[in-house]
Structures are given as C-alpha cells and as structure tokens.
Symmetry: C2
C-alpha cells in the first residue's frame, strides 16, 4: 500500500503490503484472543481515555500525516482529531455509566401464563468487530473513529480495514491505539490493522468476525453487506452507504431570507470539498423571485470559493465525470459549473432543473449522491411537485427544511413528508457537522444505512451487543451486574 | 388451503385459496394505507385490549378450531390462548407507558467539536411488517401472537402469512383482530391474512414491506432471510429458525439428584409432543453411576408417556425418519426408542452415545434439532469432553445447566462456556415455557435467531422501530413527544 499525495498525485512512500488470507486469519484470531481481557469494563474505559490522551499528545504528527494523505488541511484535521478524542472519552463515560448493559430484572410471578420465573437480562459483547474505514474522515470515521470507539466500549476487539487513501495515517494511529491498550493493561491486539481490498472481503467472511461497521460507497458497502448476509452464519452489517440529503425551501422561506439560505447552502455543500456524507446534494427551491434570489446568492457565494484538492485524483476524476454527465439531462443549466483546475484541484458549482423534469425519469443520476462540491437545485412551480419529487428520493441520513419561521404554512406538511426519508430532520439549519451526543441519530433508510442503528452518538454502542437472560440462576452464579446486591452499582430496571 | 385433521390425516374443509401475486400486492397496499391511523398510540392500545377481549370471549370456538387442526388438546390451547391475550394486554401497557419511544434530548452545547445543536431523538414505526406464523403455536406465535402484538404496539400494520397447519384457526382469529380494529376506531386492514407458500415469498419481496418476523424451520427461514437481504432495499428479517437447546448435567448433579433431573427432562422434552422451539434436544450427562441413574429415570418416565398426535402427518413422518437415522450412528443406543403408533400417533424416546464419538463428526445429525419428543444424551467421561462437544453445537435459544447446588465446583466454568451458545441460560430449571416478561430474551446466536433481538417479552417491540433525530426544530413543529412541554407525558431522557 502506497501513501499518495493528493495535491500532486505522486506516491510518497510504501507503507504496508496488502494482507493475504493468512494475514486476515491471524489478525482475527489475535483480536479474538483478547475478548476475555476486554470483559473488564474498567480496563476498557481506561483504554479509551489513554488512547485519547496519546492521540492528543501526538496531534502535530497525526494532523501532518493526515493532511499529507487527504489534503483536508490543518484546521479541519485539528478539529477532527479533537472530535475523535472527545468521542473516545465520551464512550469511556458511557462504559462507566453502564446504562448500555440495559439490565432488566423480572421477579417470579406464578400468576402469569406461563408462570414467570426469576429472569435477569443484560447485554453482552458480540465478539470481534470488523471496521471499514472511510476515505473522508481519516480519524473520526477511520481507525480511531466512532465504530472503533463504540465497539471497544461494548467489549468487542476490532480489526480495522484501513482506507487506501490514508494508509500511513492509519498505521500511525493504530500504533497509538495499541500502545494505549498496553498502557491500560490490555493486550495490544484489541485493535489490529489490515490493508487491502481483498483483505476487506476475507474479513467479513471470517467465522470469528461477529459484526461489521462500514462507512463508504453504495457499491462497496452493498458488496460487503451481501457477503455478510450470505455467510453460513450471517452477521449484522452496519453500513453507511450513501445519502443525497435533500433540502426543501418553502415559498415563504425563499421570500423571507433567500440570501441567507443561499450562503448557508454554499458553506455546507463545500465544507471539506463537498466530501461529507451529509452534504446537501439536492435542493427543492420554488420558482419565482424568491427562488431566483436564492439561486443568485448561491451562485455568488460559490464563485468566491477557492479551488480545493479532493481526497484522491480518482475521486476528482469521478466528480468531474459525474457533474458533466448531470448537465446532459434536458433542461439542466449550470449557473456555476463545477470544474477541474490545475494542478489537481476542483471548483464548486451547482446544477438547476425544473422539478417536473425529474418526474419523467432520472437518466443522468441527478437524484444520486455525487461526492464533491456540487448540488442540484430543482425548481418547483407548485407544492405538489415537491411531494412528487420527494417520492423518488432514496433513503437519507438527513433531510432539511428551510422555513420562514415556525408559522410557515407549508412547514408541518413538508416535515411530515421528509420524516420517512431520513434519520435526522433539520429545520433552518444545515446537515454537515454531526454532533456526538446522546440524542444524535446518524443513520437512515437504505441506502443511507443498512440497519436502523446510528454510527454516531451514544446509542452507536447498541450495534455491538446482544441480550442474554439468566433464568432461575443462583445469586453467586449470576454475573455481578445481575445480582440483587449489585456490587458494581450498574443501573438495574 | 385445506384444514386437515392431524388425528386422521383427513381433509376437513377448504378454508381459503392460495394468494397470488396480485393478492399479496393488494394486501400489502391495504395494510400500508393504515400507517397513518396507527400513529395514534391511544387507538393502538385500545386495539390490543379489544382484541384480547374478543379472543377471550370466543375462547370455546378458538380452542376447538385450534385443537381440530393441531391436536394440541384443550388444556394446552386454553393456556396458549390465555398467554396470547395476556400478551396483547401486556403490549397495550407498553404502548401506554411509551418508554419504547426511547426519547432522548441533547441540549445545545457550543463547547463540543462540532458544536452540539438542539437534538431530540425518538423511535418511529418502520412500516408494514410481514409475519410468518409458526406451526407449533397456532395462537401465541401465529396470527394474534407476539410478532403481531409487538408490531401493532410499535405502530406497524401487519400482513400475516398463515401457517398451512392451521388455516381455519388463522381465519377465525384474523377476523377477530380485524373486528377489534373496527371497534377500536381503526381500519380493519391493520391486520391482513394471506395463505400459501408462494405468497410468503412474494410478501418478503414487496417494496412496501419494511420488516419481517418469522418462526419456523432453518430451511424456510433461511430462504426468506436470503430474499430479504437480496432486495434492492434490504429489510430487517427477524427469524427464529432452530435450536438444539443443550443441557449439561454436572458430575455432582448426577450424583445428587439423578431421578429428579431424569423426570424433569422427560416432562420438558415431551411437552406439546416435543414440538417446542425450546425443547431440550441434546444432553451432556456424565458416565458412571449417577449418570446411569439419570438415564434409567429418564427411560422410566418416558415409558409412562401416552402416545400423542403430532401437528401434521408430514411432521410425524419426518420425526420417525430422523430418529431412525440418528440410531444409525456407530455407538448409538436407544434405551427408549421413539416410535410411531397407530393410527397417527408417536411415542417419545431418547438416544444415547459416548460424547467423544461426536468429536469425529456428526453424519446423522445428532447435533441438529429434531422436531418431536426425542432427545440425545451424550455421556462424557471427562470434563474436557464437555468443552469439546459444546464447541460443535450451533447457536441456541437456550442452554441449561443442571447442578448439585450453588457450590457445585463445575458450575462457574460450565456457565461461562454455555453463555456464548445461547440467548437464555437456565440453572436447575427447564427451558420449555417462555414467560412474557420485561427481562425475557427469546433469541440467540444463529440459527436460533437471525438477529440479536427477542421475539418474546417487552423488548420485542424494538424490532419494528427506527430512531429519528430532530435538529434545531422549533417547538411547534416537533412531535409532541419531543417538546419541552411534553403534553403526552412520555418518558424523556
């Protein structure tokens, strides 16, 4: 695996070799051997906090490594590292709190049919988790990211398949995580790193892998999902595959604050060179003067954006091809045309089309996610065109409504129509920037995610656990969490 | 579809015709049209309680219909109906309590990276649920059973694929459920009934079906699971497929109370003619005098069991074939041979084998579930043979440990070995009889279930929900459950 400079397209150094079938087997077995050690919740919390400390301590080095491979820039990557270490500490707190064990105790009741015995339920870790790192977040959704943090918090060892966009960064931070394990008194193999496409496929098929977390494309994610489902023993595959993230601007919103919405959209869709999974990629805006002013404001804002480097030359090619393809649809205009600049940069842009044109089919993929700084603005003449177009939109991570105010007459019905389309609904806000919080939900109808779980926020830990009930079990034989004396002080219901 | 008398094998009456593709489409669309009406939680709770009342009121008729098609007997079916109606009322209470909405509110916090906005998360229904009824519980795991009750509680309309063993019972109780809907002020199509194998396959592939619940065989369940995973938009498939339900008897237990364990096992394995998904189908018992006394007690108890009728002549045939096949393994003995009696009955029995024989392979399926009143007793000479054999056992709903007492020296290590194998662990108890309780878990590693969820108990409702977060949404536009004023008084975290 070579580390490549996206600013020049040149190879920087060879970082590792692609793992073969034997390497994958060895990695999974090594990780599996740590299941017993990870059962110690105190050690898990210590591991997560130690890892956060080591990553913060290596900030300069980590940010430089990530910038050299992703061109995301020092400011963004410093923020991403802060988010990543805060997330590790957040999951350490969740481990300490122990509410995720979801302990429930049912006392004996001979009056029910059948009679209720003494039943005590808690959640236990599933086993080795395969994590597939994302291209666009070399830290927060990669080796030390949310999948790894939540899996370790749950008590599951992790085998990470590095993303080929940032192998050197992956090696660097995996080394820090393994050092953190040793410092926390745990085996280093609670985290194992692998490289290579074929290794990723072998990994999801390995009999000792119990679940998988994935962030990436529909094509790659679906192939791994299918492999996970086709195993002799199928396993849960929690994949985040793709999202258009529709935005609807009401008539009243376009009349009341078109410039603010145009500028807000421009900032959100260009953030990180438009390479966020929550980038607003499709906008329904009204025809008429308000909508025209919004389009003009969006154009103005985008014209001022400096050329930027995408994560990889291959992604830049795809961005330029896909946006050129989109303009081939009859009726598409490009007020600001997304373009490639020299040497390996792109400039943002957007396409416009009459909403009813989309009702006749979408031959050029305007209703599909395009990675990079572009969005599609569909202009609607009547309210019912919004409903008709939304019915064609696939599942999403987010859906956004831009209103005039809480009394906007179209807001209630549009919110009701957006709700089935996404896992997070925003009003008068923008979807990029996913807070790590208890009430977060980062997931949504397929292809946004392949399961109804979140990959961000406290409940992400639920993906790596299964319930177990103990019936009529004497107190000394029960796990301490389920005993009446509750020596560990976990929440019991 | 014909209703068949399992006591004679004769057709009783033609109940319905197999649904064609158009019928399935019509059924799903009709159910889908009720999603809006089911959003009213008060109406849902009323529906569940009204259904329970109507079923209780029709007890004589329902029990007679079910007995005519299953031969399970009046006592068992009266108990099953009581369990079913209690379960409907239990889920009505869960709807009222509203804890399943899992409301979480994160207040804005500008100090985090990225900043935390106002985020409010709750769970919403997935949509139409396909329910595949079980052969062995014509009520509690069929049309009015746990899948239907939990799905309706979640706000999901249900299309039930009737089991061919009891089409007339299915029609009768589906009629009562639909009448309950009308009396509760809801559309009757919140529950729609279909018949036919092909209809079951069409159902799981229908684009408007959002999730499925299944109780049945590994073969049928896996085919439907595969179809659910292969859809353009995959859906969650919660299937209960098969379970051996291993039992381990410690040396000390066999020495201390062999007769009690033998009699207990005989009662559990013959309950409902051995047609329970939790039937103990595999037992590890020590060699030596204690184990011998246990085997003798089991044989004595089984010899006293009257011949019984299985659910269908086809199942009886399979039982006789499979048990005859099992005895073909070298070293297998049958102290009481399972047998067919006239006209269409069977008598229970069990096979014995030396545990280490199983380590050389299992050509005749002794480590696979056999439906009907039979179990396999493997005699172990040394403690480590138990570990070696358990490593070959597939995933289970239950695993049972029979001990001498809480000080039994082998108990802690054996419990630790049984825990990864099952979803419910029992000590000095028997797995048949699954209480409907908050702390119940009826599920387990594949093939016990295809997902880490339970199909019995309060948390079964979690299968039919997905989380959604509202970000920066003005109070009047929020669902009432998420507002600060909390007008519905739901639990908020």
């Amino acid at each position: 695996m070579w580390s490549v400079d996206p600013r020049t397209g040149k190879r920087r150094e060879q970082v590792a070799v692609e793992a073969g079938a034997d390497d994958v087997d060895r990695a999974v077995r090594a990780a599996h051997a740590t299941v017993g050690a990870l059962a110690d919740r105190t050690a898990r919390a210590r591991l997560l906090r130690t890892a956060a400390g080591l990553l913060d301590g290596a900030r300069t080095e980590v940010v430089a490594a990530a910038d050299a491979e992703t061109a995301l820039g020092e400011a963004r990557l410093t923020g991403e590292l802060a988010r990543t270490t805060a997330q590790l500490r957040y999951f350490a707190d969740i481990v300490d709190e122990a509410a995720f064990l979801d302990v429930r105790i049912s006392r004996p009741d001979p009056s029910t049919t059948p009679p209720t015995p003494d039943l005590r339920r808690m959640k236990i870790p599933l086993g080795v988790v395969a994590v597939y790192a994302a291209s666009n977040f070399p830290l927060a959704f990669s080796v030390p990211g949310g999948d790894t943090a939540s899996a370790l918090a749950a008590g599951c060892p992790v085998v990470v398949k590095a993303h080929p966009c940032h192998p050197a960064t992956s090696e660097l931070v995996a080394g820090l995580l393994r050092r953190a394990a040793a410092e926390a008194g745990l085996p280093e193999d609670v985290v194992v790193l692998l490289h290579g496409f074929r290794a990723g496929v072998d990994l999801v098929r390995h009999p000792l892998v119990a679940a998988a977390g994935f962030t990436g494309s529909v094509r790659g994610g679906r192939a791994l999902f299918d492999a996970a489902a086709a195993r002799p023993v199928p396993i849960p595959f929690h994949g985040e595959l793709g999202s258009l993230n529709p935005v609807v601007i009401t008539e009243a919103a376009a009349a009341a604050r078109p410039e603010e919405i145009g500028a807000g959209l421009a900032a959100s869709m260009t953030m990180g060179q438009g390479q966020f999974c929550t980038k607003p990629g499709f906008v329904l805006a009204p025809e008429g003067p308000g909508g025209d002013r919004f389009v003009a404001a969006l154009a103005d804002a985008l014209k001022g954006v400096e050329p930027g480097v995408m994560l990889a030359p291959r992604m830049r090619e795809h961005f330029l091809t896909a946006t050129a393809e989109g303009t081939r649809t009859d009726g598409v205009d490009a007020p600001v045309r997304p373009a490639g600049a020299e040497p390996l940069t792109v400039t943002p842009g957007f396409l416009t089309i009459a909403a009813d044109t989309l009702l006749d089919g979408d031959p050029h993929g305007l209703l599909q996610e395009t990675f990079g700084p572009v969005t599609v603005v569909a202009r609607y003449a009547k309210r019912d065109q919004v409903s008709a177009v939304l019915a064609l939109v696939p599942g999403n991570l987010t859906a956004t409504l831009q209103t005039a105010d809480a009394d906007d007459p179209d807001a209630p019905s549009l919110l009701a129509e957006l709700t089935p389309l996404a896992g997070r609904i925003l009003v008068d806000a923008w979807p990029t920037g996913v807070a790590v919080a208890d009430a977060q939900h980062h997931g949504g109808p397929y292809p946004a995610t392949t399961s109804p779980f979140t990959s961000v926020g406290g409940t992400a830990i639920e993906r790596w656990l299964r319930p177990i009930s103990y019936q009529s079990t004497p107190q000394p034989l029960l796990p301490p969490e389920l005993r009446d004396a509750n020596p560990l002080g976990v929440p019991q219901r």
